[in-house]
Symmetry: C2
Subunit: 360 residues, 2 copies
């Protein structure tokens, strides 16, 4: 297993990225290929202490993508960036997965250009793992596609199901469709069509039905599918809720002697709450649906988040994420009882379009 | 000021509704007209202790709307419901505002039928008040319209601005457009058109620009406008985040002696956090854009939430909510420098359609 790491991407690059890569190498035994400006990476490596030097290599890439660069500009203009160079290693079979904490739009655009989408997948999706009261919820899409058609949701359901199988270790994850009411016919025009489609796929996916915003934290389903607009809104509200409550807690606790003393006594319990609500534990969100494994870390990733992101990249590559997605897509044909010689997605699309002419 | 209260709507009706109405009468001096099954209401009133009996009246309504009734069924089938009867009192000028903690879809549908929409407003919106780290955010729409056109958002911005002026006491509330990136051109097809439209209205509204899910808790703007789908998702994620964190806190705090003792010492501080995060303080969400004041309470409203909902109803009626909305709509024409003799909304629509043929 060899993971390519974009050493130049993220608010704390290259320092925290290199530190995280070294930690991942030491802890998980991953081979690392750091891509970016060679001297800067070497300098950081020198201050990283001991690591098996045969397991960490550097590939020089001159261009650096900033957070302000527009995706289209990068795709065309910065062809020697660490993102391009790194993803080409995955494309050429020279590495098994790619990790970057850089500009999300840029990583996405370059990954789609260099790796291409999987057969049967129209649009890739970004998957996120959120903590809930029972464990974790996988949510997708959280920002790759803001305007989605029903078929995109179907593909998200397949990809989300496989992703949850691998990262959460669930044999048959349940899938919820994000809507604004639990009843089947609640939602907007698109989600109503999606509901019909997901019901019609039968047992190929474990479809629970509609879920609401509150079900994310209740853990009603293992996977929640949605368009990238509402998914992104939900993710950012969820992330900032923790920030908001902990900020209030700090304000109120430091306002009196008794509160301060009490908080000190309950310190361990408070820390555990913080850990349980910490979404950075999963270190990054995969871009699902491209030919290869590509993990996008939070721009603010520290060394620990980078280390976890590399672990997830390694896990997805080891479990052959994309092969399983392809098998699951093929499975849904079996259920739909259609001719196996015809492209399976064409079968599903044809069948669904016939039933729902308004959905396309 | 006379407020009509739907005594039969809500999970704890009529008991908590009647108690809340009596409390509102005692505390704010509001005249109350309780609508619903007379004997049941009388029985509850008898156990309510002292109140000025001349200020509380009852109007009998035979039909009771349940939470499971579909809006279309109620509009046609239960014409003697407490919702119909109550709203007719507002329509006929016999009362100044209506409050119900009943079936949201039913209240909305009957309100639109009985009261009609305001001139210049195509679709009413449900407004919600959320706590944030600086104070409060008004968000709309949170569920009345799941598929919105750019012009709906413009009307939401006007209505939200007036609502925030009255309930939050702000002279010139700032308006944010919910999107998935702060940059002007981030978002889906609809929000990009809305952004252009809200910028073109000029100083009639205090438009800040795009905001993200995280800005709700940061209080970046006083008002956040969005379609009813993402607004409902955001509201439910926000509400349940508090539930989730407090559930974890309870679990962790009760897990050890020291944590329990510490929490006891910091009890007051913890209670203040709970109070600050309590969204029921605003007691209900107005259905903005109908000819009259109509407040919809949470189905689980207790007496205190009902009391607060009646207070908000009274405030909005006293401040002549709809007159101010009409004036603000008229203001936007002044800014657009168009002929005052032509219907003002037609002016805005015409101008916007010309610039954005794709938006309609």
């Amino acid at each position: 297993m060899r993971i390519v790491v974009d050493a130049m991407g993220g608010d704390h690059a290259p320092e925290e990225i290199v530190k995280g890569a070294v930690a991942a190498c030491n802890e998980y035994g991953a081979d690392i290929l750091l891509v970016g400006r060679e001297e800067q990476i070497k300098k950081e490596l020198d201050s990283c202490g001991r690591f098996p030097s045969s397991k960490i290599e550097i590939d020089h890439a001159e261009d650096v993508v900033t957070m302000d660069d527009s995706p289209s500009m990068i795709v065309r203009g910065k062809r020697n960036s660490s993102i391009h160079t790194g993803l080409k290693h995955v494309k050429n079979g020279n590495a098994d997965a790619f990790f970057s904490a850089g500009n999300t739009g840029a990583v996405m655009a370059v990954a789609i250009m260099v790796l291409r989408t999987l057969p049967g997948i129209d649009r890739p999706a970004i998957g996120a793992v959120l903590p809930n009261i029972k464990g974790h919820t996988v949510m997708l899409d959280v920002g790759a596609n803001v305007d989605c058609k029903p078929l995109n949701y179907f593909q998200f359901a397949i990809m989300g199901s496989v992703y949850a199988q691998i990262v959460l270790g669930l044999p048959r994850p349940s899938i919820g469709l994000l809507s604004i009411g639990e009843e089947d016919m609640k939602g907007n025009e698109t989600t109503k069509s999606v509901h019909t489609l997901l019901r019609s796929v039968g047992s190929a996916i474990n479809f629970y039905g509609n879920v609401e915003g509150k079900d994310l934290f209740r853990g009603t389903t293992d996977v929640v599918v949605c368009d990238g607009f509402s998914g992104n809104v939900a993710l950012k509200v969820a992330e900032s809720a923790g920030w908001y409550i902990s900020k209030m807690l700090k304000e109120e606790i430091t306002s009196s002697f008794w509160a301060k003393a009490g908080a000190l006594m309950a310190r361990k319990a408070l820390m555990r709450v913080k850990e349980r609500a910490d979404y950075t534990e999963y270190g990054g969100a995969p871009l699902l649906g491209v030919e290869g494994v590509c993990i996008i870390g939070h721009g603010s990733s520290n060394a620990n988040a980078v280390k976890n992101g590399i672990r997830v990249a390694k896990e997805l590559a080891e479990h052959d994420l994309n092969k399983v997605i392809q098998e699951k897509l093929a499975d849904s044909i079996g259920v739909l009882e259609v001719d196996k010689d015809v492209s399976f997605l064409d079968n599903i699309i044809g069948k669904f379009k016939k039933k729902n002419p308004q959905a396309e």
